[in-house]
Amino acid sequence: MSQGQYVAAAYGVVFVFVLAYVAIIAAKLARLQRQTAELLALAARRAQPEATEATRVREAVGEA
């Protein structure tokens, strides 16, 4: 191997490491985004029965 190839290898290794690190962080962020969406859906499901109950009570009070 020539000296230039060794230099390219050294810089290439750094580039590959940084690229792999960014890819791992991106995958983690995607997982967090998915978890946030799941929690939002869970919170919405929790809020829905309460809202339905409140509407029923308001209707009952209105009829009275």
Binding site: Y6, Y11, V13, A43
Partner: protein, 209 residues
């Protein structure tokens, strides 16, 4: 980073003694210094955790040490490549600075073994903080080893008389160092933000279920 690469690979003059292979210096040394800085930062955050008892310092210390091991691996790899070109070997056990850096690196690798072998909680945070603090002693020893031991294998560029290089070379080095530090800082902030969001989401999930 682009400017640093341009300066290091094109603008900086070729070294009269080592030739093209000296250009590895512009990536190897800034990465090594950043690794030292990350380990030092991890120890500093560990000290703050023990001092103040605030939980956030645990994750900050962990992320800094994680960054340190990444940059430490890169230091060892780029150093090995440079050693192969300059000395004809991938590694030599006769250089104190190399061996001490390897010891420092392995010490902080063991930090993760300790961390992941303990149950999560304040006790783990304190144990890891104490371990991280012990490791910081190795940083100045590793850094000064070459000067203390009069090691002639690993070159000393920064002496008491200043940097032993031309103005353009020094500029390329400074820009590369700034770029690598900025990269490390960005990665540190991103990883830390991810860790915090992860912890918040876990708490939120527990609260909702």
């Amino acid at each position: 980073m682009g400017v640093a690469l341009l300066l290091a690979l094109i603008v900086a003059p070729e070294d009269a003694d080592q030739g093209v292979s000296q250009r590895i210096f512009y990536i190897h040394v800034p990465i090594a210094l950043t690794a030292y800085f990350c380990f030092g930062l991890g120890a500093w955050k560990a000290l703050r955790l023990l001092w103040r008892g605030e939980e956030r310092y645990d994750s900050e210390s962990y992320v800094a040490i994680h960054q340190g091991t990444i940059f430490g691996s890169l230091t060892l790899i780029t150093g090995s490549i440079w050693a192969k070109v300059s000395w004809g070997v991938w590694w030599t056990w006769s250089s104190n600075q190399l061996v001490l850096f390897l010891v420092l690196f392995l010490f902080y690798c063991a930090y993760f073994m300790l961390r992941f072998s303990l149950p999560e909680g304040p006790q783990r945070a304190r144990s890891c903080a104490v371990y991280a603090l012990f490791g910081v002693v190795l940083i100045p020893i590793s850094f000064l080893a070459i000067r203390l031991a009069q090691d002639f294998i690993h070159p000393t560029v920064f002496t008491r008389n200043g940097p032993q290089m031309s103005g353009t070379m020094f500029l390329a080095f400074c820009v590369s160092w700034a770029a690598v530090t900025l990269l490390a800082y960005t990665l540190y902030r991103v990883e830390l933000a991810g860790k915090r969001i992860d912890a918040d989401l876990r708490e939120l999930r527990e609260a909702l279920q």
